[in-house]
């Protein structure tokens, strides 16, 4: 059997990850459920006054999206690390940079994109003004891709450790902060009528930077974890 070309290989890898994810619908549903539940915590903790909630809504929605991304990123490489298929991937002649991107794309599609698509529902529940909903979805789509890329760096560095869960948050949250700042600022801007374009442009710039650099760190991290 001849080796497939790089692009078909990555597409197959992406398809495999998606098939694996969709075989267990509950694992796709979990982040959404988490999102819904944490949304419900805020009116309980902050008080249900609608005008107060609508002021906090951009930040709340962004922080929850960030947390659900963080919690799911731990699992991206874990099962493949445990059954040895990650080792096979490292041994294969395919460039690791691109195969890593396939993993990240799968993670982004099943968490970030899905969360962005359902976020308008939760935005309405938190009384976010309607004119900001479009910007919310756009900023979450862009920002969650950055979050997936950065989160996978942490996942790659901790995949060999037994107790990676808490550590990955310590490692990765500092890098999530800039995304949070500009993501929630975009939505906040849309609420108050400031053009959100510049914020979205900065998120896009972060995405470009992350796509160019994060796979290098992830590839290095995976090699370290598999060697150890």
């Amino acid at each position: 059997m001849s080796a497939p070309g790089t692009l078909p290989f990555c597409l197959r890898l992406l398809r495999r990850q998606l098939v694996l994810a969709f075989r267990r619908p509950i694992e796709i549903g979990n982040p959404l459920l988490f999102f819904a539940m944490v949304v419900a915590l805020f009116p309980l903790g902050l008080g249900p006054a609608p005008e107060q909630l609508s002021g906090f809504a951009p930040g709340i929605l962004w922080i929850i999206a960030l947390l659900s991304n963080l919690l799911t990123s731990d699992a991206v490489f874990r099962s493949d690390f445990e059954d040895g298929s990650l080792e096979q991937l490292l041994l294969s002649p395919q460039p690791l940079f691109l195969s890593v991107l396939a993993y990240i794309a799968a993670h982004w599609l099943v968490t970030g994109v899905l969360l962005a698509l359902v976020s308008p529902v939760f935005a309405l529940m938190l009384n976010l003004p309607v004119q900001a909903v479009g910007v919310l979805v756009a900023s979450l789509l862009l920002g969650s891709a950055v979050l997936s890329l950065v989160g996978c760096i942490g996942a790659a560095l901790t995949v060999g450790l037994k107790r990676g869960g808490m550590l990955i948050s310590l490692l990765i949250l500092p890098f999530y902060m800039p995304v949070l700042i500009f993501g929630s600022a975009a939505v906040q801007g849309a609420v108050t009528g400031v053009p959100a374009g510049p914020y979205l442009a900065i998120l896009g710039a972060m995405l470009c930077l992350a796509i160019a650099l994060a796979p290098l760190a992830i590839a290095a991290g995976l090699r370290i974890s598999v060697d150890a």
Binding site: R163, L167, L171, L173, P174, M177, A220, I224
Partner: protein
């Protein structure tokens, strides 16, 4: 040149040369620190607006400057150990993290104490302060990741990757006060052009910054020596050293 480079990779050589350096550098550092503190606290005029409270600048600014520079040292040492597989660079990187974390913590605490009389609050979420807090988390993340690995060789590599990723944040911290209008003042000391700080206050400050750099170097070398002894505990030179210490 190359023999020097090769010697740098030898633990006993590094141990002995760092001992010699420390014997000179440590007293100089302590004298410079003492002189800088006395000069800054007693022999400079009080600020016309802030009175005497500004004097904390002689701890705050040096700690912050060296905390940021320390991150570069850590990341560059990490890069060297990743690229050229130099064990001693790995030792240096590991030794950097706790010192940098301590300096960042000092900068945050002194800044907070300074903020109370000047801004009327202990803490504000302004760009410079928040990014220094992130720097503290970055340092602590490196420490935590290193401790989490049982295999110390892999731990060193993983930390090197993490510290290189963290480099992205350092220019943001440096430039945060210029990019975002915030409560924290922009940098007063400039290499080109006029500094916005009076020379009589500037010179003790420069002395303190140099003293903190020297202090960082001393702490780094002492940490590295301790780490070297621990790693090489089973080798001949360490056992010989231990016997000598026992005899004297």
């Amino acid at each position: 040149m190359w023999t020097f480079f090769h010697k740098l990779g030898s633990p006993p050589w590094l141990y002995s040369i760092s001992g010699t350096i420390l014997r000179w550098l440590l007293p100089i550092t302590l004298v410079a620190l003492a002189a800088g503190i006395v000069w800054g606290l007693l022999f400079t005029a009080p600020d016309f607006r802030q009175g005497n409270s500004y004097r904390i600048i002689y701890i705050h600014v040096p700690a912050a400057v060296v905390a940021l520079a320390g991150y570069y040292v850590m990341a560059i040492a990490g890069a060297i150990s990743l690229i050229w597989k130099m064990k001693m660079a790995d030792v240096a990187m590991k030794a950097c993290a706790p010192i940098g974390a301590a300096l960042t913590f000092i900068a945050l605490v002194t800044g907070s104490i300074w903020g109370k009389p000047t801004w009327g609050t202990w803490w504000v979420w302004d760009a410079r302060i928040t990014s220094m807090l992130i720097l503290l988390f970055l340092y602590l993340g490196v420490v935590a990741l290193y401790e989490a690995y049982d295999n110390k060789e892999a731990a060193g590599k993983a930390c090197a990757v993490l510290s290189l990723v963290g480099m992205v944040n350092i220019p943001i911290i440096y430039k945060s006060v210029d990019w975002w209008y915030s409560l924290h003042q922009p940098a007063s000391i400039k290499f080109t052009g006029e500094s916005s700080i009076d020379p009589s206050m500037l010179y003790p400050l420069l002395l303190m910054i140099s003293a903190f750099y020297a202090l960082f170097t001393c702490c780094l070398l002492m940490n590295m020596r301790a780490e070297l002894l621990e790693r090489e505990a089973r080798t001949n030179w360490v056992q010989r050293l231990a016997k000598q210490e026992g005899r004297s």
